[in-house]
């Protein structure tokens, strides 16, 4: 366990590693806290509405109906993360499958599948989401479905492009020669080649999904009120801005931080799983100690 930790540490830049650890801990907290405490995000306390940050019993103050902001934040984040992660996962599975099949088998499969992808790509996410919500009503499941449908095309495109170029790689060709069946090849070198990118893209998509969901709930079309969600909190924060600015600032900052952090995690994952990428050489310029393999690759680059 410690060895994996140390290899992880060595392989990436300190900043990213720490950020990811912090994120991991935060996520754990978000899930554990509501489960172990008995706080209720819906509990109203109107006499104490708009309590300032730091009031006893209300760490981040209360909103217009006296509900504790901190609790609402945590619960809202949890719901959002679950819903968006589910949507992202489904999108990843569907998209990857389509991308691999289209790029590997080419021909008619390619044309047909990628046309479907193109059709869905043509819908701007929010507009499409609004359409679906208007038909099926707002709610958690709708949001999951919307995320899945909105984001599978980018996974499909990504895997499609990657598999297309991987197919040309000699080691994939020779896998076929050495007796690999289609399924074996897909499962083996293709999936391995595509994996790192996929994982990085998943985090990015999660960020987009959270953005989409918060946009939807800002319009009142996402996670059903009175259950908390960042978008809803921002909307009401905007409404009561003049009375208490913190109720707008807190959810907004949380949302931005969440998304920025997800972006960094995506970068970190990509750095980590790419054995010798460009990022290695970028770090050289920051003055890190240069290892022998890195100098060799640099020299190879120059053609010494």
């Amino acid at each position: 366990m410690t060895r994996t930790f140390r290899t992880l540490w060595q392989k990436s830049s300190p900043g990213l590693f720490i950020t990811t650890c912090v994120v991991f801990l935060a996520v754990c907290f978000i899930f554990i806290y509501p489960a172990v405490t008995s706080v209720d995000p819906l509990a109203q306390d109107i006499p104490h509405a708009f309590a300032p940050v730091g009031t006893a019993g209300h760490l981040l103050g209360t909103d217009n109906l006296g509900r504790d902001t901190f609790v609402r934040l945590v619960v809202g984040l949890r719901t959002e993360l679950i819903v968006c992660a589910a949507g992202t996962l489904i999108a990843a599975i569907i998209g990857t499958l389509i991308g691999i099949l289209a790029a590997y088998f080419r021909g008619v499969t390619d044309l047909a599948l990628m046309r479907v992808v193109d059709i869905f790509l043509a819908f701007p996410h929010l507009v499409f989401a609004m359409l679906i919500v208007s038909l099926y009503g707002a709610g958690d499941l709708t949001v999951v479905a919307v995320c899945a449908i909105a984001f599978f095309p980018s996974f499909a495109r990504l895997t499609y492009g990657e598999v297309l170029s991987l197919r040309q790689a000699l080691y994939v060709e020779s896998a076929e020669l050495f007796g690999g069946s289609h399924w074996q090849i897909i499962r083996g070198p293709l999936l391995r080649g595509v994996g790192p990118l996929l994982l990085a893209q998943a985090f990015l998509t999660l960020a987009f999904a959270v953005g989409l969901e918060s946009g939807l709930s800002f319009l009142g079309l996402g996670i059903t009120p009175p259950r908390p969600s960042l978008g809803l909190m921002i909307a009401s924060g905007q409404q009561y801005f003049t009375q208490d600015a913190s109720q707008l600032l807190i959810p907004s900052i949380t949302l931005v931080v969440l998304l920025v952090v997800l972006g960094y995690v995506a970068d970190w994952v990509r750095d980590l799983l790419d054995p010798r990428g460009v990022t290695r050489r970028r770090r050289l310029r920051r003055g890190d100690a240069v290892t022998r393999t890195e100098v060799i690759s640099l020299r190879e680059e120059v053609g010494a």
């Binding site: 046309r115 507009v127 953005g211 946009g215």
Partner: protein, 318 residues
């Protein structure tokens, strides 16, 4: 050249058809007829008078078999008829014309602002990677790309608009009345819209500049004795700009979608607000019409980008 053109056009038409069909199916996949949904005020509403449902069914032509409806639907579309709005009792095309124009103006402004700033950021970052400038710019970009448009819109409208009062956060003047005033009111919304665009253009430009800088022909140019500026303009920038143009073109459609939220915040009379009202009012023909327009615009822009690319890069097969 013509063959390529026709192929892309054909694919575009197929995609439009696919979109249109998908919307049709979505609308008709809701349990119970759409008329029922309309009268109920959304799925899962209360009971409605079956007679009223039947009457609305007949009026909207929903009592006919699905295939017939589909064909009529396609037929109407081909003639440019998007149906009639239930609420306003007027053709959809008339209703969306003006708001669409307003929204497009926002997008165009956002593209101009965002494009210029994004390019500059990307060039600065890409030319001096790892420098302090690069880190600052990359950091700004990371934040800008992560912040949802509506959050930016809110902050702009509240702080720059309300608190500082430099630009108005609400209000609208038609461009035909007073163009200057129109721009004055359009500034904040399009600025908010441009943030995401800046981030994406900045990123792509940076990556493109970074990779082009390392190409062999740049060394050849230096080896000729050309000055740094000359090398950059003719051999780095010119080559790096191609993928950026492609991405920018594709983003047009996405920007169109992002306007929905921004228009909410700034009360801008664009197609986004029209859509939202239509959804809340269960005005399905209007919703359908707007969604199709969005999709078609996206497809048309990517078609234009596809056509533009061979002009930019002689290596692409025409």
């Amino acid at each position: 050249m013509t063959r390529y053109l026709l192929l892309r056009l054909g694919l575009g038409i197929v995609t439009v058809w696919g979109v249109v069909t998908a919307v049709f199916l979505a609308l008709h996949s809701v349990p119970g007829s759409p008329a029922q949904v309309i009268l109920q005020g959304g799925a899962g509403g209360g009971d409605v008078d079956p007679a009223a449902v039947a009457a609305l069914n007949k009026e909207l032509g929903l009592d006919k078999p699905l295939l017939v409806q589909y064909v009529t639907y396609l037929g109407h579309l081909l003639t440019g008829d998007l149906g009639n709005s239930i609420k306003y009792s007027a053709p959809v095309t008339e209703i969306i014309a003006a708001p669409l124009g307003n929204t497009v103006m926002l997008v165009v402004l956002a593209v101009i602002i965002g494009g210029v700033i994004g390019l500059v950021f990307g060039i600065l970052s890409g030319n001096w990677p790892g420098s302090v400038l690069d880190r600052i710019v990359s950091g700004l970009i990371a934040v800008a790309v992560s912040t949802p448009g509506f959050v930016i819109a809110i902050f702009l409208s509240l702080f720059v608009g309300l608190s500082l009062g430099w630009f108005p956060s609400i209000g609208y003047t038609a461009p035909t009345d007073d163009f200057g005033d129109f721009l004055y009111h359009a500034f904040l919304p399009s600025l908010a819209l441009s943030f995401g665009f800046i981030a994406i253009i900045g990123r792509v430009t940076r990556t493109s500049v970074l990779s082009v800088r390392r190409e062999d022909w740049v060394r050849t140019a230096r080896g000729m004795g050309l000055s740094g500026g000359r090398v950059f303009r003719r051999h780095v920038f010119r080559n790096a700009v191609n993928p950026v143009v492609t991405v920018a073109g594709l983003q047009f459609g996405a920007l169109l979608g992002a306007t929905v939220l921004i228009e909410q915040v700034f009360n801008w009379p664009g197609i986004g607000s029209t859509l939202l009202n239509a959804i809340n009012g269960r005005d399905y023909p209007l919703v359908q019409g707007i969604v199709i327009v969005f999709a078609v615009v996206f497809i048309v822009t990517s078609l234009l980008v596809d056509l533009l690319y061979p002009l930019l890069d002689p290596r692409v097969e025409r």
